[in-house]
């Protein structure tokens, strides 16, 4: 061990000690006085619900970034679009399951159309152009939604079966949120299965890892871009439908979530899906606890998490790539 590494070790140890001291202060003087087991459990469930939604939005984003190195700012707008399509289908048929199925498909179709017509000419150019392009798309999609559905806030009624409170372990909890939790888990598992266990997923992973070699194996990887984009966007649309009854549906509901999703992706490590899952749940839980504990800092919480993670571990929690 030369002097440089030992100094670095010392520095890290000092930082760690400071963090530990801060945590102890937080736990004993700030958190414990305000917490009971019931509140903690409730907030944990809330955090998991929120976190899983972050996870499924962020994993679509991460997939798209990993595959085509596109930073898709329009992801939030498509999430919003999912909520609107879900609302429309629900109003027409009164069937929540159907809207949960149809809306993501429509959103996926819109996404594929967008990819084919606007993203395609820009591959190979600087990624900045994708940021700028998708920023333009945010304006277009947001305003189109305004044009079609109006500026007003729409209430998405909860389906009757799910609109009740469940009591267990001495607390009562809305059943709908448990349903959201279930849907989140199902989508995540499906996502994982598709990516790790199917041939389609294998090709996507290969393309993410090395596009050229995949091409050399005789797979035209650019043909998969449209499908992957559509898929990533469709699950964001599904998240939009699922979240709509909890929040309300309005043209700006995607503006905030996109930043959160990016932060989740970056904290987890770019292109790492398990990292995105970990980071999403972490940020969701931290956020829902800070609503109770430090209401003033709720908005800043995820940024603080990101700053700390990026400074200590620049490649993200589970990112493996070396970032100099």
């Amino acid at each position: 061990m030369n002097s440089h590494t030992s100094r670095r070790f010392l520095l890290n140890a000092m930082i760690l000690a400071c963090i530990c001291a801060g945590l102890i202060w937080l736990i004993f003087y700030q958190i414990l006085p305000k917490m009971t087991i019931k509140i903690a459990f409730k907030q944990l469930l809330n955090g998991l619900t929120l976190g899983l939604m972050y996870v499924i939005i962020a994993s679509g984003l991460s997939l798209i970034f990993g595959m085509m190195e596109v930073i898709n700012f329009a992801h939030g707008a498509l999430y919003m679009l999912g909520a609107y399509f879900g609302l429309t289908v629900f109003r027409l048929t009164g069937n929540f399951g159907l809207s949960l199925l149809v809306a993501p498909i429509i959103v996926g179709g819109v996404g594929m159309l967008l990819e084919y017509s606007t993203f395609r000419p820009l591959y190979g150019r600087s990624p900045l152009y994708h940021i700028l392009l998708t920023f333009g798309l945010v304006l277009v999609i947001g305003n189109s939604a305004e044009l079609v559905w109006g500026k007003a806030y729409h209430i998405f009624p909860r389906p009757k079966v799910l609109g009740v409170l469940d009591s267990f372990l001495g607390i009562s909890y809305p059943r709908y949120r448990l349903f959201v939790l279930l849907v989140g888990v199902l989508i995540s598992v499906f996502f994982w299965y598709m990516l790790k266990k199917t041939r389609f997923g294998l090709i996507i992973r290969a393309g993410t890892h090395n596009r050229e070699i995949t091409n050399a194996f005789g797979i035209d990887i650019s043909r998969y871009f449209t499908v992957v984009f559509g898929f990533g966007v469709a699950i964001a649309g599904a998240a939009g439908v699922v979240m709509a009854p909890i929040l309300s549906v309005h043209p700006h509901m995607g503006d905030g979530i996109i930043i959160t999703a990016f932060i989740v992706v970056v904290v987890g490590g770019l292109g790492s899906l398990s990292g995105a899952a970990l980071a999403g749940i972490l940020i969701g839980v931290l956020e829902s606890f800070s609503v109770i504990l430090f209401p003033a800092f709720t908005g800043a919480m995820m940024y603080m998490v990101m700053v700390v993670v990026l400074l200590v571990r620049p490649q993200g929690l589970l990112g493996i790539e070396e970032i100099r």
Binding site: I71, T118, L122, G124, S126, L132, L139, V140, L147, L310
Partner: protein, 383 residues
């Protein structure tokens, strides 16, 4: 003296100087108000165009000339706005004190953010700058007693400038317009000198190929940080001017402000210094124009914007360039032959090359490296 002037006008900076003529004509804007062609509203609007042009210019230093994509320039704009407004409200009604505080504060903040975030690259750098900007946004939003929360700060006094017997109030829209114009001219000239100085050359070398710049022996990180600080100071300056023009609320720190600055850069053509200012003027003017006709200005603006990204990635300056190098020779071959090769070479070297041939697949960079356009190695060196 005249020889020196001549040398300056024929030096590598010559392609930047036509913009002074543009600014001169822009300075004639109040005349129209004086003879009542249009109302005073357009005077204030013109001032706003200049201020946001200055903001876009600050982004060009870091993005167009150093190749760092920062998503948080709003942090400096907002800090400048808040620091300026708070100084004028609570400390003293003096523009010079306010500007001094703004410049020093944005220097410190830019150095700190730069110190922390320039250690990492690409998308990570972009996200970290975004995070810092959003943290300031949250701070401004939540610190009710100091920043006024979501209401912001209103009633910022307009200080006076000049030596006591001859005093002009900045509350007068004419005075303020020319004050801002003066600031823009000074900053623009300083930036032209800066990017053509040896320091500026190093920045452009970093943009074009960071590894090579490092191998030559420059400490890349320090140069990037300096560039970041300079950009932050100019951003802070533009923010403080904005506070004098309007009120201040947390929206100046919102990421939308940052995104608009990037949009202006793209709209005008980055890496040219004058491009972003023109971009800001065109962007805001078209926004104003479209929004006066229809409520759905975002839709139209978004479509125009997507069109620009797809078909004219070098922005308005690039359009002009295409016009000069393709349309003019086709229509007037005789003129083109006379103007000759020289013009072609300068335009090529000034405007960043963004040919689609720039492919990332063949470069050994790791994924997640977000670099500003114009990073291709086939740029031709100037002079």
């Amino acid at each position: 003296m005249s020889l020196k002037l001549l040398r300056l006008l024929r030096g590598p900076e010559r392609s930047y100087y036509w913009f002074f003529l543009f600014l001169f004509f822009f300075g004639l804007l109040p005349l129209g108000v004086a003879v009542k062609i249009y109302s005073t509203f357009y005077l204030r609007f013109g001032t706003e165009l200049l201020i946001l042009g200055l903001f876009a210019l600050s982004v060009d230093i870091i993005m167009g000339y150093t190749g760092l994509v920062s998503l948080g320039p709003a942090a400096f704009f907002g800090i400048g706005a808040y620091a300026g407004a708070l100084t004028l409200l609570k400390l003293a009604n003096s523009i010079w004190l306010a500007l001094a505080i703004v410049l020093i504060l944005s220097w410190i903040v830019a150095w700190l953010i730069g110190y922390l975030s320039i250690r990492i690259r690409g998308v990570y750098f972009a996200m970290l700058t975004l995070a810092f900007a959003e943290m300031f946004h949250e701070l401004a939003f939540n610190w009710q007693s100091f920043t006024g929360g979501s209401d912001g700060l209103t009633g910022v006094p307009r200080p006076a400038i000049g030596i006591p017997p001859y005093v002009l109030s900045l509350g007068n829209p004419y005075v303020f317009f020319y004050f801002v114009l003066g600031v823009v001219i000074v900053v623009y000239y300083a930036c032209v000198r800066l990017v053509n100085s040896p320091f500026g050359r190093v920045l452009q070398a970093i943009r074009d190929n960071e590894e090579r710049a490092e191998f030559i022996g420059y400490d890349v990180r320090i140069f990037k940080r300096r560039s970041f600080v300079i950009s932050g100071i100019i951003g802070g300056l533009s923010g403080s001017l904005f506070a004098l023009l309007r009120f201040v609320d947390p929206d100046v720190l919102h990421w939308f402000t940052s995104a608009e600055a990037l949009v202006m850069n793209l709209f005008g053509g980055m890496g040219t210094l004058y491009g972003p200012v023109i971009g800001a003027i065109v962007f805001l003017f078209s926004k104003d124009l479209i929004s006066s006709y229809t409520e759905h200005w975002r839709l139209i603006l978004g479509v125009i914007f997507v069109g620009f990204v797809l078909y004219s990635p070098r922005g308005i300056v690039g359009l002009y360039d295409t016009f000069r190098s393709k349309v003019v020779p086709a229509l007037f071959p005789s003129i083109w032959r006379r103007v000759g090769r020289e013009t072609e070479r300068t335009t090529e070297s000034i405007v960043s090359d963004m040919s689609p041939a720039h492919d990332r697949e063949s470069s050994p960079k790791s994924k997640g490296n977000l670099t500003a356009p114009g990073t291709s190695a086939d740029r031709k060196g100037e002079g």
